[in-house]
Symmetry: C2
Subunit: 203 residues, 2 copies
């Protein structure tokens, strides 16, 4: 797994200047003056730096996808989405460590865990909005999953209202009718469909 | 189309306090103290406010999807993605105005336009990272599209390196092998697949 090297001068990306404008525990806003491989005249860009995150598709032995319903303050709404969570601590350079975060978030947010003999399959990564942020999500398929004896252990700062299993046909309907509408869930579904781990059947 | 009412006290969302920490023409960082329908104890949250955007899937009469290859400063990389652009000016409350932005961005970024008798089909919206930003993308399918006589007219601030048409099978391979890895493109593909406007065929 490649580490992020935001200040690397390799490959024609060159930081001419960089000024931190805001920083708290959640994000950092930097105004950067950058040269790129195709544009040697420096451009100013406002960038929001964020920790990476894990994004997990938990699929049961019946082929259903587990979603949580979560309140999201920035959009003033509760939405159905796959479990996910930020990668704390060190930079995300080690896929084994990231996988451990994925299993922890799965258990904490849904109360599900990998079944004995189940697999946690890395499915690459993605950028949530590369026009303004370096935020990156690391995709995992967890299958099959089963309910933990101990249940979930949700973080106090979260607000998870519900957790349910949805069939591929239900999922397809929720995506088509705009009920599923966050990047994590839509993007991991695209990856699952492209990799043959999920099928919407014949239209 | 519902307008965003970030300070609405309706439906149990209540802003207890709000402090703007950073603002430029690209984004605004606000620390909000919010009550939500499920959590009456106020929580502090750092929110990045951004303009909405259009996200367009242009499909040719041969069923190919037009992608652009664009340098993205925040991630230090050039990636293949669908054309997209921010909605300037007024709040995005009028779907006709948003559709006009979609057609303009399509033409500017790709040099393609709707064929005579072609359709611009709204496909709902999505949130790029609702854990920290209200940024919302409005999806459109444009089909069939054809090359403009006048070509593209790219913005000076952008850095678009290439533009090509990809078959559904090529697209599927690029999503599966992590070559397509931005939220806009993955998410609109999930919506297109769920709505039956795109098919990856049998795995």
């Amino acid at each position: 797994m490649k580490s992020r090297t935001p200040d690397s001068e390799a490959d024609g990306w060159e930081t001419v200047s960089s000024r931190t404008c805001f920083e708290d525990g959640n994000l950092t806003v930097v105004i950067e003056e950058m040269r790129s491989p195709a544009r040697r005249d420096p451009r100013l860009w406002t960038v929001v730096r964020r920790k990476g995150a894990v994004v997990v598709a938990p699929i049961t032995s019946e082929g259903k996808l587990i979603l949580i319903r979560q309140e999201r303050i920035p959009i003033r709404a509760a939405i159905w989405e796959v479990p996910a969570g930020q990668i704390d601590g060190e930079f995300e350079t080690n896929l084994d460590e990231i996988a451990a975060v994925a299993l922890r978030e799965l258990r904490e947010e849904t109360g599900f865990e990998l079944s004995e003999g189940g697999d946690l399959i890395p499915l690459g990564d993605y950028f949530t909005s590369p026009g303004f942020t370096d935020e990156r999500g690391y995709f995992f398929l967890a299958r099959p999953v089963r309910e933990c004896a101990s249940g979930h252990s949700r973080d106090e700062s979260e607000s998870i209202l519900d957790c349910r299993a949805f069939s591929p046909e239900e999922l397809r309907g929720m995506i088509a009718n705009n009920e599923i509408r966050d990047a994590n869930t839509l993007a991991i579904c695209a990856r699952l469909l492209a990799c043959g781990f999920l099928s919407f059947g014949q239209g």
